[in-house]
Symmetry: C2
Subunit: 209 residues, 2 copies
């Protein structure tokens, strides 16, 4: 975990001024890594502050609580995933090409950003209620995009599935679970894995290749 796995999630806001001072960014990064490795509850505020090179109290200048850090990570991670899904659908023509691109990028993201992915998918239960509501809405939007794409494919006669919702679950499931098992030592690059999963999913959906 030497690189900056979250660099693209919190861009500087337009206008020239840094939307998020560097110290707050370092706290986010340290929190992502600790939450992913040990889980939210096993991570102490001292872990996070130390990881960001600060004293424990400094955390509270930038975030009101440990849970607020989790909420921000979860919100940004989900927003990025939804964006990725929509971009894949908008960037191709036809259900087959769209689904292939969607799975390729969804899978590669969950491999590349597996630390964020773990927090996003496996620490939901630790979110305060209001933050959970925001995130649940984003998850519903993602599910709806995938379901709509499969429905479009079925309507166009290029996919053939018994149950659209079950198929949609299977598609997202495959991608999400990548963040659980993928490691630096995995033999495939995120992009290779994405291509192979894209192939498997298209077959699963009954596309004639």
């Amino acid at each position: 975990m030497t690189s900056k796995p979250i660099a693209d999630l919190w861009p500087t806001l337009p206008g020239g001024a840094d939307a998020r001072p560097e110290a707050a960014y370092r706290l986010l990064q340290a929190a992502v890594e600790s939450f992913a490795e040990r889980g939210f509850h096993a991570t102490t505020t001292r872990d996070i502050a130390t990881g960001a090179g600060m004293s424990p109290a400094a955390l509270y200048i930038h975030y009101p609580s440990k849970a607020a850090l989790l909420a921000e990570i979860s919100r940004a991670g989900h927003a990025a995933t939804l964006e990725l899904v929509r971009a894949a659908v908008a960037g191709e023509d036809g259900p087959e090409a769209r689904m292939r691109r969607l799975v390729e990028e969804f899978t590669a993201w969950h491999a590349r950003a597996r630390t964020v992915g773990r927090v996003v998918n496996y620490e939901l239960h630790a979110l305060p209620e209001d933050a959970y509501a925001v995130v649940a809405a984003l998850r519903l939007d993602i599910e709806r995009e995938v379901t709509a794409l499969i429905e479009a494919g079925v309507a166009a006669g290029v996919f053939e599935v018994a149950e659209v919702r079950t198929a949609a679950r299977a598609v997202t499931s495959l991608g999400i679970d990548v963040s659980r098992w993928y490691t630096d030592r995995s033999s495939e690059t995120p992009e290779e894995l994405g291509r192979r999963y894209g192939e498997l999913v298209l077959r699963m959906l009954g596309a004639r290749l």
Copy 2:
């Protein structure tokens, strides 16, 4: 969570004497439910003891530590899963029928026993090192069974996949992730879900249906 979701995991030993006194069993059950709902670290020994209808100290008569409870749950859950996989392979003829049965039962188990499944698959990082080694060996055995089955299918010409290991990952991934998202409110029964996933997986593996 009204039923006893773990009843078949800790049978009474032969010989007439209860291998595990009822109180220890109640502690296991309470621990499974708490660990699954809140995670290992967010669960207190008081939660578990209260859930089993005892005072906090009673836990330590039956188990040496909170981690020992997790270790026992994880070991038994993995052993049961491996058993299920081997039974599916032994109970059918031909790679296709074996794979269908394997996915059906693997999936249904992860839906039915989702509380145990969550602990088994998402609390690995909280295991003490020695308990982790035991469990890792069981996980490797499960992976090997699935990989061998796909290889047999490829050799027999009934499956066709680009990369056996990636395909094996996808098969187990689909089943494991069920324990993350399946709830009482899910519209499909575990058995229905198993049949549908069996169908999807066979197509994914290139079986001509």
